[in-house]
Symmetry: D2
Subunit: 333 residues, 4 copies
């Protein structure tokens, strides 16, 4: 039984606690939050849990094996570092850290201590992303051409981060997982219209092998859009996460260059065939992820969404933020 | 009666001829194309028209008042220059010219000769764009925040230009018309996967007053998308050009910054109200545009889609092409 | 404080208990269900509630002011009758009763005892239906022409009733409320393919003033559809209950007969204008309904979704069932 | 070369002439219409064709092998009868005739004369319907359960027929072709709100083997809908004819009865799997149909959309009209 302390019981914390307790192999023993009202909610829902406003009670407790850090990003490094130093595994809300340097230190520390870091890239455990990953791994799409995602809606504005740090981590984690290569370079543009932070931003990520990725994130859209296009040589895919039943559509469509002797006459031929929408499993992603966290701890295995994965996402965010400030200046990895 | 010679009778030329002849105040007297098959088609459809493979017969004819140049972009400058030098008004297919320098020369030449140049920005004459322009001019949306357009589909690949020169002129002409300000700077990214030309590209245009525009153009998308978001302080708008009946949706939604004494507590408030989809007129845009061309010639008035408008679009394309080659390096106007 | 006993704690019962307890002016004191597992769930969620397998403990308790009957329809009459005879107000799950005769007896009994019956026509309390009712009452649609609803999906099959009794009560209650007239005649058709009960059924209801209503209910549809068209002389309305944001669309479209001297040349003219999608309130309908139940009891007022409303729906269901068995034979009210 | 005379050059006639002339094996020699303006249009488009206001010139001409009757339904019988009596094959616009009796006479006459009748059930030649027919013939859907079609829009009102005779023939011809059985009984309901003819109508058709079909046709709908559901034991299908690219969706979904010893506990199990959207050929249906007409004449083969097919549709319409007038009274075949 893995005994877990959860720091941060705002919007996402209750989901962490509920799912951890439902696993069977883990148990939340302490919930920590600075706000008394949050602790009252926790106590009402889980009368047996210890609550505290002092994170040291979680970080130092000999009764706790793992700490879930579900707090604002600027607190992640300190909390995770203390937890690791006290021999505890950590589960960290995304984005992993505020800077790549912090992320590197945590990765190095966990490595040295032989402890598990998992970064909460929940989307990697959804049926849709697991199916996309499977298709790419099976080479069903062929050589990848591009990954293009749009994630826009009205709000929620954050006070401490811009729209890139708020919305892009989802897509960056997914593309990191699906594409499986490290970014070569990042370009970002954007603008802020209200409180100084960018509220509209666009990000291009250059990967090896001519794979290009693009994100469109926006807090000022009148409509909610969650759509990703993934183009490959053999097949192309549309993932609309707002569809209730047909989230994934795989198109047997493609383009091929017909080489001819006369290079000026090179022809492009189109292929247009059936569309197929696989059934996507509806299991709760967070429960799967936390079960995998417990399993990695027990078996001493390194999760694929480990500190390095979190670090790769933070590096792209850091690069994007620098690029955005300098109006699209490319930032190389 | 304005007598028109049409050079180029491929895909778009027949629409130009048909609409010119339907105006009443204009008449196509000569059709020119290098391909005999094209001339045969023209002759069958319009037995009374003169056909020729030699553009000089159009450019030099004293029987012709205006020339419509409906040929590949790299031929526009030479044909238009000769026409203007021979005292003829010109209607030029978009994009206006291959380079900004060419465009500037044509604008200057027309000005000197007192002749009309119109660039075929057909979309400006659709019911949807005219309604958007009206809403912006009436300040119905309030201070503009962003213009974000997605124009993707499978093919058609061009041999001589990349996807930016093929698809972006539509959106650039529209945003130039709607936003009504000259771009400050352009950033573009993209990649080519088949024949060396970029087939996926993303473009950010910085306008004054913190207005940001973004284009997503792609020849490799399995699905066709033609959607533009336009965000303003008061209202926001979605234009889906593939909708048969409800192309425009105007949302009474917005975000407002609540200034407080403590700047760290500045609050953002959301407003969410009704949606309204105005009836959009279905008149054929090209007919309206060509009627306007005839009217501008007759009255000696300068069209809003004149050579300068065409030039502004070409400048943005030229800037984007340079930026794309240097991976997003910002190009200032 | 109204003290309520809830009989039936299956799928819907927990929602009733949760919403009653959230009102402030009511309190669930006893939960009754034949299944021990259901009672265990109730006890866990509400430690202070009394649970019992014996409905008499609810029906006879002097501590209980009102009884919510959330059980299969064939039990409604007996339970509601006993509750009324014991001086208790009743809230009855829809459909009200198995037969119109039962419904009439309950209505008469409640009248005699001066007690409140409310039938759980939850949909009448949704933002969408309240907005439709408001539009009809304001005569925004003009003279009504038709009401046409489609409510289809895959399952859930019921053992004891056919698809009409399962799905049609929603639409019948809504049309009864919105149209505000009593049906003249009913025609129903359908077929059963699995267990003897009709799983696909179609129902036409003739109202006075040439208003016609139609329902399409189906347990064997691969896709879920919840769409209602409402046509009037002035405006027409589409209600798509599966849309997250734009459930209601009101079309400024219509048809008008141009009377001419020659009756054979009577012309029909079409009007096509804007579409408007009003913001629909997202309050939980069941909470509003139960609050209204409490209010009606306290003020001694008759709810609009009273026993008579429930009875009108049951009469239409009974008529439809008879018609369906005799392949569409019309049944007059 | 089959020489064809076309009677009726209003909305549909020009499509018939254009497609016949494009076949290569047929040629329109005469066009007949009562309206001079129609003949002027025909003459302009086809200078070589003979035009006449007198149908006898078509019906009696020894230069004509086949007659296309593209006129209002009440004229079909007389024109087709004369054509057949004069030894000409006939292609008749749908619906075939105004009454079943007329249809029977024409079928009998063509049979006696050894001539071909084809009824213009164009939809049977679309890619979508041919794919549906193929799937049903291959038993891909399994035992059919139901066919449910919605065909609604605003207008166009007809002066001489009601909405059933205007819109239902499409669906009746398709279901006749796909289901491949003769209807047992028909029930129809509806109402008219403007000029006395029903403008909203609903039709149920009972087929053998418990297959039920249903049509919803409406001239007063604010939105255009063209959707058909087809449910079978193994798979279910949705055909949305307004979709540009994904007209057909085939769902691997179904319901199965689990027989148990205790009949009261019979369980229904659901199956939910992938969805598949086959590419549908985009060939012009009318050209395919007219080519098939020419082929049947040349080979002396009986088309599947022959007079008997047309007659089956007319019988269903006649039955529906009678049923509608008597408020749903079932009419047996």
């Amino acid at each position: 039984m893995i005994r877990v302390g959860v720091i941060g019981y705002g919007y996402w914390g209750p989901n962490i606690v509920r799912n951890l307790n439902s696993l069977g192999c883990a148990k939340v023993v302490t919930v920590c939050d600075r706000r008394e009202s949050a602790l009252a909610r926790a106590k009402q829902a889980y009368p047996g849990v210890t609550v505290t406003q002092d994170e040291a009670e979680v970080l130092n407790s000999p009764e706790i094996d793992a700490v879930a850090v579900i707090t604002p990003v600027w607190t992640h490094y300190d909390l995770a570092e203390q937890a690791l130093n006290n021999g505890k595994h950590v589960f960290v809300e995304k984005p992993f850290t505020s800077t790549a340097e912090q992320g590197e230190r945590l990765v190095e520390l966990a490595e040295r201590k032989g402890l598990t870091i998992m970064v909460d890239h929940t989307f990697l455990f959804t049926g849709a992303v697991r199916k996309i990953k499977q298709l790419v791994d099976e080479d069903a799409l062929g050589q990848l051409y591009y990954y293009d995602s749009m994630r826009v809606n009205l709000g929620l504005f954050q006070h401490d981060v811009n729209v890139l740090w708020d919305l892009a981590p989802h897509d960056l984690a997914i593309m990191d997982y699906v594409i499986g290569m490290e970014a070569e370079a990042v370009v970002a543009t954007g603008a802020g219209h209200l409180n100084g932070h960018a509220d509209v931003a666009f990000m291009t990520i250059y990967f090896p092998n001519n794979v290009i990725a693009h994100l469109n994130v926006n807090w000022l859209s009148p409509v909610k859009v969650r759509t990703t296009l993934l183009g490959g040589e053999k097949k192309m895919l549309v993932w609309n996460d707002l569809e209730a039943d047909e989230k994934l559509k795989i198109y047997d469509r493609g383009v091929k260059l017909q080489t001819t002797e006369n290079v000026y006459e090179a022809l492009v031929s189109y292929r247009s065939g059936d569309m197929w929408s696989p059934k996507v499993e509806a299991t709760e992603a967070l429960k799967l992820e936390l079960g995998y966290f417990a399993e990695c701890i027990e078996k001493g295995e390194r999760p694929f969404n480990d500190g390095l994965a979190g670090l790769r996402v933070v590096k792209m965010l850091e690069a994007a933020e620098g690029s955005l400030k300098r109006r699209g200046e490319v930032v190389y990895a």
